[in-house]
């Protein structure tokens, strides 16, 4: 199959959908890989590196003209979709529930679209799971970013000039990103507290040496295919109360709470922020889905009376080199599952194909 990799056009997107090592594997699996010149530069991969592994370098148009299937990272823009040839397949982040119009547009150009983010969270799909691989890096980066922004250091330090107490970090959501954030903050010496609505996360959080804030009267939460269902507003209220004490003492807050579909739950109100410590920082990783904090604006910095609220959406992308490598390997595993050298085998009885194929035969499938 002829695969195409374009330079990403989304703002702040530094990743690339294929890295040289993966190109080599794709080529040896019988595919041809067309890459837009300079596509990997931001992630540290030069055209020469790709060429050395057997990729065909070319202009954007050349790639579009040749490729039967586009490997992509960020959700494609309307312009990008417009520029594609009819019938091109697309493998990319899509977030289908958030972008119904985009799906229609893609269906209208007859594209077959695979949403990498819609993968079922099953054991065998783990090697293709871009959410895990990217959120993991994002969780690390969120803490590093927070540490850089914070006017305090994380670890306890007893020095000749006095004792610096450890920073207090509060993390909302112990999914992939949250767990890695816990680990990273702990490594740097912070005191970490965590809240999540899935009861099984308590053990996981404690296995990373952090403290779990228990919300009373929480029943098992509905998890489907690895995606957590929203909980009722009464639960959210109780949770906010249980967490508030920690929130008001926190130096750094990292929120990662997501639920299936729709908008992220609001876990930090504007009122709470106004009562937080001066100099505290909130990194809202749910910004793209509306944010866990009322004040969050995606990709923006808000100074709420001394409390800094950040809503970065490019955290994984900021670890572009590793992120591209892992994303590319996820895609490689995905391709080996859904396609042969001759093309994609649309086996709709297959759980993975069926769950990810959001546009097929001019039809939106969700």
């Amino acid at each position: 199959m002829k695969l195409g990799v374009l330079k990403e056009t989304a703002s702040r997107e530094r990743r690339v959908a294929a890295v040289p090592a993966v190109v080599a594997k794709l080529v040896s699996a019988g595919h041809t890989v067309h890459i837009e010149s300079g596509a990997g530069l931001h992630a540290g991969y030069t055209d020469e590196m790709y060429q050395a592994q057997g990729a065909v370098l070319g202009s954007r148009q050349a790639v579009i003209d040749s490729a039967e299937c586009m490997l992509h990272v960020a959700v494609p823009s309307t312009e990008e979709i417009d520029s594609l040839r009819r019938g091109t397949s697309i493998i990319s982040y899509i977030y289908p529930k958030r972008h119904p119009q985009l799906l229609e547009q893609m269906a209208s150009i007859g594209a077959d679209v695979f949403a990498m983010d819609a993968l079922p969270r099953t054991t065998r799909a783990q090697t293709m799971d871009v959410l895990s691989s990217q959120n993991n890096l994002a969780g690390y980066k969120a803490v590093v970013l927070g540490a850089a922004e914070l006017g305090r250091i994380f670890p306890l330090m007893m020095t000749a000039a006095g004792t610096v107490p450890p920073a207090k970090v509060l993390i909302y959501g112990a999914g992939v990103a949250g767990l890695q954030a816990i680990a990273t903050a702990r490594r740097l010496g912070a005191q970490v507290e965590v809240t999540d609505v899935r009861p099984e996360t308590k053990e996981q959080v404690e296995s990373l040496g952090a403290k779990f804030i228990t919300v009373e009267g929480l029943d098992a939460v509905n998890v489907q295919g690895g995606y957590v269902a929203a909980v009722g507003s009464d639960v959210l209220d109780r949770q906010r109360t249980a967490v508030e004490k920690s929130l008001l003492q926190a130096d750094l807050v990292i929120s990662t709470a997501l639920v299936t579909g729709g908008k992220a739950p609001v876990l930090i109100t504007a009122d709470q922020v106004s009562r937080m410590k001066r100099g505290a920082v909130i990194i809202d990783m749910a910004a793209e889905a509306g944010g866990n904090c009322e004040l969050t604006r995606a990709d923006d910095r808000i100074d709420a009376n001394g409390v800094l609220v950040l809503g970065p959406t490019d955290l994984a992308s900021s670890a572009a080199q590793n992120a591209s490598e892992l994303y590319a390997k996820n895609v490689l595993a995905f391709l080996s599952h859904i396609a042969t050298a001759d093309g994609i085998t649309y086996d709709l009885s297959d759980e993975i194909t069926s769950a990810t194929l959001v546009v097929h035969n001019g039809q939106v499938r969700i």
Partner: protein, 463 residues
């Protein structure tokens, strides 16, 4: 009893004590065995040439030597030929021979006593009968144990078996007592006693299950020790006394220790087991698994060339990373090469094991990726699975209906020995049973991983 022989006996006695002591540690066990063997040779040769009976040296020396050669060559050949896995039954067989020897001595002594018509002191009579009974039980019991372990005989149980056994025991002892007091006498009665003892030995061992055989053998072993001591008493022979009592006492304690390490009482093994099922621990899924103590696992690992540690989520839950690192260190001090096999999804987040092990300062180059280390398992002596489950579950390769089918796993099962540390037989994240735990080369070490690892560290250190 004067001259140099008593001193040789003293020497031999000392070698026996020393031998048992040295046998208690892997480092010195071989030496202990050799020392005891040397002492035994001294005692035997000394007896042959220096023993005086009523002032005269022993006669029949050529026959004695012939017997020694016959027995020695046969014993040697049998011992060298036997397969490693059949060792316990071999021990049992040899033990039976010793018991037989003791019983024969009693018979011979009784014969000569009746012939010489010299009055026999109660003490001597007691020693004689005790030697005969205990030796006889040991002889037949050991042979039955041997046959059962060789699978030539299966457990035989019948209603009222315990009643019959107890009755037989009482009868045997009674006949023995009557022979001692002189109320009964004569060779036929003696042979009756011998027959009763042999019969009891048979019936005693018959119902006991195969897994408990080692305990029974150890018990019979200490019996033979006591029988030998009776012989020593008969001949006022210190080395026989010491050797016999030593084995009698050490053997009894060893038996108790063995029961303890199976979490059973001796009584439970011998009697309570009537009619219970054979085999080690059972599982709800029907397979049976083996348990191993920290001490055993420690020896396995300390004497291995290569140990691979497979960490999993349980390591994180137990927060056992530091102790794990310490175990690695202790093993390396002993010259064992230790590596960690890191499964890409071990734990609950990507890189979970890396975070843990880095915290404990495990060198990065000891952490080996799955693809790379899988090739090495077949040549690995021991795999230590610490709180991992799904990532070593062979079902991923063999069972298409399993939810983890298709996930690449660590081929721990291919190693010579696999020790699995977890708290129970419960499933891991995927919620499925793990066939590996029931493999013949696998053994479970139950308990919190941190506690288990720290006992392992202690045991390894003590080796």
């Amino acid at each position: 009893m004067d001259g140099i022989l008593p001193l040789l006996y003293l020497l031999a006695s000392v070698t026996f004590v020393l031998g048992i002591k040295l046998l208690g540690s892997p480092k010195s066990a071989r030496l202990g065995n050799l020392i005891a063997a040397a002492g035994m040779s001294v005692a035997i040769i000394g007896t042959m040439f220096l023993y005086k009976h009523n002032g005269k040296p022993l006669h029949n020396l050529e026959w004695i030597i012939a017997a020694l050669i016959v027995g020695g060559v046969a014993g040697w050949i049998m011992a060298m030929r036997v397969k490693m896995t059949s060792m316990p039954q071999m021990v049992s067989f040899f033990n039976g021979m010793g018991g037989g020897c003791a019983a024969l001595i009693s018979i011979l002594e009784y014969t000569s006593a009746t012939q010489s018509a010299m009055p026999v002191s109660i003490g001597h009579a007691l020693a004689m009968m005790a030697g005969l009974i205990i030796g006889g039980v040991s002889l037949s019991g050991s042979i039955i144990a041997y046959l059962k372990l060789e699978d030539r005989l299966s457990d035989i149980r019948f209603g009222g078996q315990q009643f019959v056994n107890n009755g037989l025991l009482v009868l045997t002892v009674m006949v023995g007592v009557l022979l001692v007091t002189g109320s009964l006498s004569g060779l036929p009665m003696l042979y009756l006693l011998a027959a009763l003892a042999v019969l009891f030995g048979v019936l005693f061992v018959l119902p006991i299950g195969g897994a408990d055989m080692p305990v029974v053998i150890s018990l019979l072993n200490s019996f033979t020790g006591v029988a030998a001591a009776c012989g020593g008493f008969l001949y006022d022979n210190m080395v026989m006394l010491i050797g016999g009592i030593l084995v009698g006492s050490a053997g009894t304690i060893l038996t108790v220790v063995m029961c303890n390490s199976m979490n059973r009482s001796l009584l439970n093994v011998l009697i309570g087991n009537f009619g219970s099922s054979a085999g080690g621990g059972g599982s709800s899924t029907g397979g049976s698994y083996r348990e191993v103590t920290a001490a055993d696992a420690a020896v396995m690992m300390a004497y291995a060339n290569r140990v691979v540690i497979v960490p999993g989520y349980g390591l994180a839950v137990a927060q056992a990373q530091h102790v794990c690192h310490q175990l690695e260190h202790e093993l390396e001090t002993k010259g064992v090469s230790v590596l960690y096999a890191i499964h890409p999804v071990a734990g609950r987040m990507p890189g979970h094991m890396n975070v843990l092990l880095a915290e404990a300062d495990v060198a990065y180059d000891k952490l080996i990726e799955m693809e790379e280390i899988n090739a090495d398992f077949p040549t690995t002596d021991v795999v230590l699975v610490v709180g991992a489950n799904d990532v070593v579950n062979p079902a991923a390769k063999t069972d298409p209906t399993s939810p983890i089918y298709g996930m690449p796993i660590l081929d721990a099962e291919l190693a010579r020995q696999v020790v699995i540390m977890k708290r129970s037989m419960k499933a891991g994240y995927a919620g499925i049973d793990n066939e590996l735990f029931y493999r013949p080369n696998a053994a479970m070490l139950f308990g919190d991983a941190k506690a288990s690892l720290s006992s392992l560290v202690n045991e390894v250190k003590s080796l």
